[in-house]
Every structure is written in C-alpha cells, then in structure tokens.
Amino acid sequence: MTTTKSTAAPDSTTILRGLSSNRRVPLGSAVYNALLETLYDEAAALDERRFDDWVAMLEEDLVYTAPIRLTRTGPNRDRDVMRTMFHFDESYGSILMRTGRMQKSAWAEDPPSRCRRFVTNVRIGECDAAGEYEVVSYLFLERSRGDNPENEHMTAERRDIWRYVNGCYKLTKREIIVDQSVLGMSNFAVFL
C-alpha cells in the first residue's frame, strides 16, 4: 500500500483532540506528581545541557518526531497536523548521534544557546500497556543566542508516552506539535 504524500490531500493530516486514553490520572495523585517532577527534571537537564542525564531518561525504543503544521480552511480546517513531514524524525540511535555531535564541532550550539523550557498544562492518562502513561504538556521555549538581545521563542504541545521502568519514568514516545507553520526559530539545534 502506498500512502498519498500529496500536500493538498487532507487525508494525510490529523485532528488534534485531547487525550486518547480515557483512564485519567488525576492531578495531584502520586503518579501525576511523579510524572510532573520527571518533566521538570527533564527540562532542567536540557536547559543545563546535561545530555547524559537526559539520554538516561530515554527508552531505547524511543520514537521522537515533530510533524509540520499546515493551515487549512473549510471542512478540513482542523486537519492541520501533517504526519507526512517532520521537523524532527528521530530514534534513540539518532538522538545519541545528535548528543554525541554536541561534544564535538556542533557550531549551531557552540557557543551554546541559553534556553528556558517552561512546561505547563500537564494532562495524564493511563495507556493500555501496564506502566505506560500518556502525558500531554505545553512547552514554551525561550532561547538566547550569543550577545543577541532578542530571544527566539517557540510554543508547542508535546504528546508523550512515559514508561515506568525500575523505579523511574522513561520516555518512549514524543510527538512535538509546534504551533507555527513557518517556524520563527532559525534552527532546531536544541531538543524540545
């Protein structure tokens, strides 16, 4: 089966609507708190460029993507997530390649950007697989480059699956749904 890759066709797009799980993990519950803490720890590891700490939070079957957005009107107006094309299309191995590059000559992050990742609006549901949780969060990224007084910024929703392994949660899937169809950020040399 070949799938259509047509830009015009709406059937290659998807509507975004809430959590797919109907077993809600309530705000304030032990699991919710632990996952929220994990998201905060992850943001700190990335902001502080502790890539080894971040990679330790990833599962080896990781799928990490950022589909593009496309503005539509009329009956297809909500079908604006294009999962045929991505800003990121990564596996655990390719993430390791990227973090490895950061230790060498990755001029896009040398000098490093100073980043703040603000993570909010966290909603969590239980997945069918035991110990797996669907975690949806909002991300606001402020990024400062060199001596440029103007920050670059980016907003997105992240649709994650975190798995409970050996006493901690590890990321097995992340889909970053950016809000811009034309990105205002000059590159994604940072993780989202």
């Binding site: 890759k5 830009t7 503005t71 297809n76 000559s105 034309v182 994604f188």
Partner: protein, 462 residues
C-alpha cells in the same frame, strides 16, 4: 573590456562599486542595502524562473498549494484539464488574499471579503448578485482574472515567472540542463515530494544563503566538520584538512549562474572507499553502488531516460550538491546509514526573500516515486536528520548566516568585501562529456563567482 553596469543607487554608488568584477570582490553592503533589495525584487524575482514546488503535491483537479514568489503570494492549482496554474493570490477587487489556507482542494476560490470568485486557473467567475454587476458596469470580466504567471514543469518541479515574454525555461537552465536531467529526469515515474516542505525564517538577506548555493564546497570542511568527526566522510578529526574528503571532483556551472558539484562516491565517503570499481562497466558500477535515491531495480530506467554519457557520469561522478540561480540549493547526496537502511537524501531548498533582512528557508524532500515505501521512509529520515530545520548539517549553516547579516550593518563593516579570488579557471577534464564551464580538482570560488556574475547581469538589465 567589461561592459559597465548602468545601475546606480541614490547615493551615487554604482553596482560596479559593489560587485567588483576586476578584483572578484563583493561589498558586504549588498546584504543590507534596502534600495538594492527593491531593485532585486523587480529585476530578479519578477523576471526569472522561480521554483514553487512539485506537481506530486497537487495530483487531483482542484488541488492547490499556496507558495511565494519572493514577497508575492501565489496560488498553485491544478485545473480540471490537468494543467498546473500559478496566479497571484491578490483579489483584483480590493486586494484581499483570495485563498487563506496553505493547501487543499477547491473548484472555486471565493474571496471572503466581498465574494468575488475565481477558477483554479485564475479566471474570474463573477461577483455575488450577478444582476447588480458588482464587478463593474462596463468592465469585461476577462480583465478581472487573477494575475497569471507563466508556468513550466521540469521533471515535475513547478517553476513560474512573471516574465511572460522572457527566456524559455530551457534558455534559463542553459548548459546545466545536461547535468540536472541526471537528477530530475532519469526514471519513468520521476520524483515525488514526500510531504509538504519544512519552512522557517532566518534573520538574514536572501543572498547570504544564495551565494552559498552557488556551490560553496569549501565550507564543508570547517563548518560541517562534525560530518568528518562522525566518520561519515573520509578521514578522522585529526586528518580533516590533510585528506579533505569531498573537496576533489568536477564543479560545473554556466553563465546563468547555476552550478553543480560532481563527486566520486568512493573519494567522498569512507564506507564506499573499498568498493572495487576498477575496470568495471557503467552498469556494473551502478550495481555496485547506485546513485543517491536510485534502487537497483531502476537501473534499466536510467539507460532509457538518459543518454549513455549521462548514465556513465551518474555512475562515476554523480552531481551531488549545487544550486539554481537565484535561490535554489539542491543536495542529492549519499547519506550512509549504519543500520542497513537505504542511503541517500534528495532535497531542494528555496531561499525566499522576505524583506532585506529576512529569508524564508523552504525545504523540499524527495524520493523516486517508484521506490519502495521503506526506501522512501529511510530517505525522509536521512534528509530530515541532515538538512533543514533540525538537520545536523544545515543547523550550522543557519547559525552562521544571521551573524554575517549582523556584521553587514556596521558602517565600517559594510565596506568589507567578500572574496572570490581563489579561482581555478576553466579546464575541460580529459574524456568529460558534458558541456558548461568546468572546474576540475579542488573546489574553488569559480562557480560562486559565476553566481555573482549572473546576479550582476540581471541587475544591470532595466
């Protein structure tokens, strides 16, 4: 004797003062000058052929995509007769955008302001309340069509120009066509765009990435050092400058400003270094290592669609990176994977001007239409991981260009010149079959200088 350019800016500066053809220098001021930018919009972007997408994006009647020709927004639509049409997305009534989505399917495009309606080919249909003649009492309907651009499809790529009586597309391509055909016109079904392009904006003038697209091979060694450090290209971190992988080949260009770098795979990439090509026929070579994006099953198609000489070149010196003047970069590159997946990444970028100090980077990612789904999947991933928004190669380019731009604003800095003085001079390698201007050996400034000469030529034509 060089003919003097007639273009003079309001402060008395001449184009010849900015592009110094006697010393092969270009003033950094060209990157910021607002007046020059306005001339570019008229003399280059309203005149030459511009790349807008691929016809696989709009396969059905009524399908449309919205694209830009510099700062002019256009509707690219397939009409009921199958033709691809490009019309200005500006309502002739009061200037609203006729189409507000970025893609979709419509048999009628109706402006949301007062309701004037247009066909996919830009023809005016009418205004609401027909009997009241709200399009005008004595105005012929045919005069109210959307402004139409001239369209040419090349290997499925959609090109358009406002220069309705200007050079044909083939005249625009010139001698580079022989080489471009090896990339775009080589298989029975042709290329397919794998999804809508990635788009992002950089705070720099379009010519900063533009001049690089004139085949700046040399920057790879230093800016893209991580390619060598990662062991993808030949050599190690310590031997980058000694071994200079990817630097030796044949650069080709033409007076229209287009260029390509033709590189032997075995001299560029470590993992191809030991393939026993010695004494092998073209067909045997192709079977040992298919060109980027081609599968073994497609090899007979190459012979069918290209001349024997073209296939031979594709097997030995495939064109891998280059550009089309004014604002297209192309990379049809080997992208070796370690997991056994399909190698190769095919991408085209356009650098669309969005003001003197902004450019939109549009990244189109392709595969051969007849390639197996898994090959397409791998090639999509290769291209995303190497190029565009997050690509580990091009995120470094995107980091350099805005800094050059900040420099270009300084009252003193703007008089610094860009140097194109490392020239090889034209030389025809023995046995070389293709035409154009040829620069064998180490990649130098020749092709990029030709890019500036093409710029100078268009800017001098009022």
């Amino acid at each position: 004797m060089l003919q003097k350019s007639s273009l003079t800016l309001r402060d008395g500066t001449k184009l010849d003062d900015l592009i110094m053809r006697d010393t092969n220098e270009v003033s950094l001021r060209v990157m910021t000058d607002e007046e020059l930018y306005h001339h570019e919009m008229e003399r280059i972007f309203a005149k030459t052929w511009l790349l807008l997408g691929h016809e696989s994006e709009i396969p059905k009647a009524g399908d449309f995509i919205i694209r830009d020709m510099a700062e002019d927004n256009v509707i690219v639509a397939r009409d009921a007769d199958g033709s691809v049409n490009v019309s200005l997305n500006v309502c002739p009534h009061r200037g609203m955008r006729v189409c507000l989505g970025e893609a979709g399917n419509k048999r009628v495009h109706q402006c949301i302001y007062h309701g004037w309606a247009f066909k996919p080919n830009g023809d005016f249909i009418g205004a609401p309340i027909e009997k009241e003649k709200m399009h005008g009492n004595n105005v012929e309907k045919a005069t109210l069509n959307l402004k139409k651009a001239r369209v040419h499809l090349y290997g499925g790529l959609i090109f358009a120009t406002w220069n309705v009586d200007g050079p044909s597309f083939d005249e625009y391509l010139g001698d580079i066509k022989y080489y471009m055909d090896q990339l775009f016109c080589r298989t029975d079904s042709g290329l397919e765009l794998l999804g809508p392009p990635q788009r992002f904006v950089l705070p720099c003038n379009w010519k900063v990435p533009g001049e690089q697209s004139g085949s700046d091979g040399f920057h790879t060694l230093t800016l893209h050092r991580s390619l060598m450090e990662g062991g993808v290209m030949g050599g190690t971190a310590e031997t980058i400058y000694d071994q200079a992988p990817g630097m030796y080949g044949v650069d080709v260009s033409c007076e229209q400003g287009h260029s390509l770098r033709c590189l032997e795979a075995e001299k560029t990439f470590k993992m191809f270094a030991d393939i026993p090509f010695e004494g092998k026929s073209t067909e045997e070579r192709l079977n040992l290592l298919t060109p980027p994006g081609i599968t073994k099953e497609m090899i007979p198609e190459l012979f069918k669609n290209l001349s024997e000489d073209q296939v031979e070149q594709l097997a030995t010196f495939p064109p891998q990176v280059g550009g089309m003047f004014p604002n297209v970069l192309l990379a049809f590159i080997f992208a070796p994977r370690t997991d056994g997946g399909a190698s190769g990444a095919l991408t085209l970028h356009t650098y669309m001007p969005k003001g003197p100090d902004r450019v939109e980077f549009v990244n189109y990612i392709f595969a051969e239409k007849d390639a197996p789904e898994q090959v397409k999947r791998d090639m999509l991933q290769n291209a995303i991981q190497a190029t565009g928004t997050s690509g580990t190669i091009e995120q470094d380019d995107a980091d350099v260009w805005p800094v050059i731009m900040r420099n270009a604003r300084g009252g003193v800095s703007k008089h610094i010149t860009l140097k194109y003085q490392a020239l090889h001079g034209e030389e025809r390698p023995e046995g070389w079959k293709g035409g154009g201007m040829l620069y064998p050996g180490f990649t130098k400034d020749d092709t990029q200088w030709n890019w500036w000469l093409a710029y100078h030529k268009l800017m001098s034509e009022a």
